[in-house]
């Protein structure tokens, strides 16, 4: 079926909504010269084309289709938001350097390849998510992206390498997730990231200390399991932090004891503290560790190396 809208230049927004059965085939929006938004997520579309050079387009939502490619976005200089997640897009990352107004770029669960790209030109970027792709290489500096709130590069195959860049300048960062890569070096300093809520750095090859979390008063979830972390920098832990997964590292007994003590001092009830797995030391007095017993009496789930 072919649906034609005329006159196309009067249309500023297209939302195909939902339908049963889902829409298949191709949507061509060329000629919609004043189009600002296209929303056609959740169908079986194989191509959405014609928007590559539309100067006014701001929002492109084409997630959950059967798309295999993403047209060049270099002409869409007013673009603020793109969501192309959960398609079959297998290409090298598009160049976003001209999309300086871009605030949201989501391309989860595709087959994007090449280096995870530099977003240092995208100074307005708030939400960047490219988890579960085939990206390679090192993560470029994020120091210019001071407006970032979420950054997700998790589960790349075979995995990003090198260190994780400093996030000292990301004062608004809320969620950062690089789980399931081949990253190494130290975990980043988090002392400036006072709005950080979710920190997921599991299943990499990070070494050194779990950082001081004293300033991360909004933190709710901290995951650093399955790395090579050996110590804990100390400091206080917020009572908001209810899930801490640090299993399968090489934490010393001193580090394990200190983490247990920090959670006791936080005074929170009913959380999860996983310090078990292979490699981590047993806390002093094992299952009879006094801090462990205090947490358990408060309703915590506690896992340690016996």
């Amino acid at each position: 079926m072919i649906i034609t809208l005329t006159p196309p230049q009067n249309i500023t927004s297209i939302d195909v909504g939902t339908s049963t059965p889902k829409l298949g085939g191709v949507i061509d929006v060329s000629g919609f010269t004043n189009l600002q938004e296209i929303r056609c997520n959740g169908h079986d579309l194989t191509e959405v084309k014609g928007y590559a050079d539309l100067p006014n387009i701001k929002k492109i939502v084409i997630a959950d289709n059967l798309l295999t490619a993403l047209p060049s976005l270099t002409g869409n200089t007013n673009l603020t938001s793109v969501d192309c997640s959960r398609n079959n897009i297998s290409q090298v990352f598009p160049d976003l350097s001209s999309n300086t107004n871009l605030r949201v770029f989501l391309c989860f669960r595709n087959q994007l390849s090449g280096n995870v790209f530099d977003i240092s030109s995208n100074l307005n970027m708030n939400h960047f998510g490219v988890g579960n792709n085939n990206l390679t290489g090192t993560i470029p500096s994020l120091s210019a992206n001071t407006n970032l709130k979420t950054y997700n590069v998790q589960q790349q195959t075979p995995g990003l390498t090198g260190g994780f860049p400093s996030i000292d300048n990301l004062l608004d960062i809320d969620i950062v997730n690089c789980t399931g890569n081949a990253l190494s070096g130290s975990l980043p300093n988090l002392s400036n990231n006072t709005k950080l809520r979710i920190f997921q750095f599991a299943s990499n090859s990070f070494t050194g200390n779990i950082p001081d979390l004293s300033n991360n008063t909004q933190l709710q979830l901290f995951e650093c399991y399955n790395n090579n972390l050996s110590g804990y920098a100390g400091g206080t832990i917020t009572s908001n932090l209810s899930t801490f997964r640090g299993q399968d590292n090489i934490l010393t007994q001193s580090a394990v004891n200190s983490i247990l003590a920090a959670f006791v001092a936080a005074g929170h009830s009913n959380g999860i503290l996983n310090l078990g797995g292979s490699g981590n030391a047993t806390p002093t007095n094992g299952n009879s560790n006094s801090d462990k017993l205090v947490l358990e009496a408060r309703g915590w789930t506690v896992i340690v190396t016996p």
């Binding site: 969620i175 299993q247 797995g277 506690v302």
Partner: protein
Amino acid sequence: MTIQKITNVINIESTQDQWWMLYNESTKIVFEGPIQCSGSTTSPHIMVIADTEEELLAYIEENDLVILPEDVE
């Protein structure tokens, strides 16, 4: 094929080869696992230990348990 449902979870030891999970009996929410992680676990919730992940996934389905995704997309 062995599945253990443990309601009194006090210092329950699991090995690196076993799969386990914890869920809240009231909400039916699985809040830890299914994972492979050796250790000694104490929890006010229900622990289920199995030989394979598939056994736990089947248990989740049979008992109408829910896994909440923690990865934000």
